[in-house]
């Protein structure tokens, strides 16, 4: 018998007033699967997470959780899911009671102390040093780790994280990442993470979805280039970059402000100006980051074109051959026809 997915979403619509709408026609998340959500702020990542956590109710469509259509915060089902919000809130009590709270509301009484000690240990907070502290005696990073420990102790079927490392120090970031990696080794738990941290996501999740203006517009390998676009009169359209440079697309766009998509695999990287004039876009850039995904063969090279950031994909061998390193000035090339207009509706 085929395994039932943890989540099955169909025809999901949610909106805040008239200005923003999230629409997910269909999506499945399997048990133990990990998903990354990337995209600009206000694009719908947090809203999707809140819907998956049953904190918000869809206006239309359904979210099946283990085959059950969930309405509102059906507490028995919702208890299989937990979300860590971007800015954690700690209860005005001790750290011990904060971490134990989820167990207490479930009526669990066995081995509370050991379980709290284990959960705090998972996020790198020694029990003897932190358990007795009050909520206000922690740094921002420690508070985030306590909030994570209070979720990990519940051993949920789905752990949802909204920008878990956005506003914390580098050591706490490392401990948060490590705690998630460690617990997923011992527990079959689905993970959905909204983050701008592509380097981490590439190594931590099975799939990445890019969310823009309330729509999933592809995998994380696609770059979104926002408008405005200006007609050149020869069927091509251009977007102004810094220092008088332009980026060319084959038009016409559905609207001046329409965003264009560009696959990372369509971007070629060169270390010297390229002579191939059939490619319309040949632009100088600076490498701002490089990372490899544990499940991907290619390297992601993040480059700054002066006003926009793109992610190009290249093999590790080619990166080694060209000696591409962060901070290096390079050239990127891609044809105007490689840019596809984003169709949201």
């Amino acid at each position: 018998m085929e395994e039932q997915p943890l989540y099955r979403i169909s025809g999901l619509r949610f909106h805040y007033g008239d200005t923003f709408e999230l629409f997910i026609p269909g999506m499945e998340i399997g048990e133990g699967e990990s998903i990354g959500l990337v995209g600009p702020n206000g694009g719908g990542k947090s809203t999707l997470l809140k819907l998956l956590a049953f904190l918000e109710t869809p206006r239309e469509g359904t979210i099946f959780f283990l085959g059950k259509n969930i309405h509102g915060t059906d507490s028995s089902t919702a208890r299989n899911v937990t979300i860590l919000l971007q800015e954690p809130y700690l209860l005005k009590t001790s750290i011990f009671e904060n971490v134990a709270y989820g167990l207490r509301v479930r009526g669990e009484k066995d081995r509370i102390r050991e379980r709290v000690e284990e959960a705090l240990g998972q996020v790198g907070l020694p029990f003897s040093e932190f358990a007795h502290r009050k909520w206000h005696q922690l740094s921002g990073g420690e508070a985030q780790r306590v909030a994570l420990a209070s979720r990990l102790i519940l051993k949920p079927k789905a752990l949802l994280l909204d920008e878990p490392t956005a506003s914390i120090d580098s050591y706490s970031t490392y401990r948060v990442r490590q705690a998630i990696v460690d617990i997923r080794k011992s527990l079959r738990m689905a993970l959905v993470v909204a983050s701008h941290d592509l380097e981490w996501l590439n190594g931590a999740v099975d799939r990445i979805y890019k969310i823009h203006d309330g729509r999933i517009i592809g995998s994380g390998e696609e770059n979104v280039i926002p408008g405005p676009w200006e007609a050149l009169g020869d069927g091509r359209w251009r977007k102004a970059l810094e220092e008088g440079r332009f980026l060319l697309a084959a038009g016409p766009p559905p609207g001046r402000e329409t965003a264009a998509l560009l696959r990372g695999t369509d971007i070629e990287v060169h270390v010297a100006e390229w002579e191939e004039r059939s490619v319309e876009n040949i632009l100088p850039a600076t490498v701002t980051g490089m990372f490899s995904g544990s499940r991907r063969k290619n390297l992601t090279v993040q480059v700054d074109l002066g006003g926009i950031t793109l992610q190009a994909m290249m093999s590790p061998e080619r990166a080694d051959h060209l000696r591409v390193l962060p901070g290096k000035r390079i050239w990127v090339a891609f044809p105007a026809a490689a840019l596809r207009w984003l169709q949201l509706r």
Binding site: R79, T82, I83, Y89, K92, T93, Y101, G102, V105, L154
Partner: protein, 229 residues
């Protein structure tokens, strides 16, 4: 001005010699204010929580009414309660007039809006993330409500202390409902008013010192609680 200086010295003698009349007024005050504060907390905390936590039709109007009652004049409360508990009043058979429970009843009415309003404000002012956090940790509706009240506990205590400060310092109700009966319903404030009228400053000053000390203690507790919030 010598009479003030000698009055102050005699006041210290009254206090340190344990003058029974002075201490009768102090114990009556503590008895009355404790009864009224317990009753107002028992009614006001649940009432304030409901007003701050739930959404219901007429909530804004009820909130406006409670806030208006914060400025309730003591003599108006005294008048209304007097009318109710005097022999001709609907509660006349309870024989509460000129008794400690009678003063406590009227003081409860006086300070109840303080407890309700400050508790409601405390609950309304809690961080938006609290509810989301409790839901995501698996709390049900009852557990969310209970934890919400616990999170507001410092502000609720502040409400209680503020109400206590109002109760111990009022004079109108104690005078009208208690009748200022020596050894029986005479409180610090009514005694001070009486002794001042008689030109007997020593006991007035002695009781004033006690009242100021109580007010200072109340304020110290308030400052500590505000620091904890």
């Amino acid at each position: 001005m010598d009479y003030l200086g000698s009055g102050f010295l005699r006041a210290l003698v009254l206090l340190f010699s344990g003058d029974p009349e002075t201490f009768s007024a102090v114990t009556t005050t503590l008895e009355v204010s404790s009864l009224s504060i317990l009753a107002s907390l028992a009614l006001g905390i649940p009432g304030g929580f409901i007003l701050g936590y739930f959404e219901f039709p007429g909530k804004k109007q009820l909130r406006a009414l409670v806030d208006t009652l914060l400025a309730l004049p003591t003599v108006v409360v005294g008048l209304v309660v007097y009318a109710f508990i005097s022999r001709r009043g609907p509660l006349g058979e309870m024989a509460l007039l000129f008794t400690v429970p009678g003063i406590a009843l009227a003081q409860t009415i006086l300070v109840l809006p303080i407890v309700v309003s400050l508790t409601a404000t405390a609950v309304e002012g809690l961080d938006r993330r609290l509810r989301l956090t409790l839901i995501t940790l698996g709390a049900n509706a009852r557990q969310i409500a209970l934890q919400t009240l616990l999170e507001a506990r410092f502000a609720v205590l502040t409400a209680a202390v503020t109400a206590y400060g109002r109760a111990i310092s009022e004079v109108g109700i104690s005078m009208m409902i208690g009748g200022n009966i020596k050894w029986h319903t005479r409180t610090i404030t009514t005694a001070v008013a009486l002794e001042t009228g008689k030109g007997e400053f020593a006991m007035g000053i002695a009781l004033g010192i006690v009242l100021l000390t109580l007010a200072l203690l109340v304020n110290a507790v308030l400052v500590t609680l505000r620091r904890k919030q």
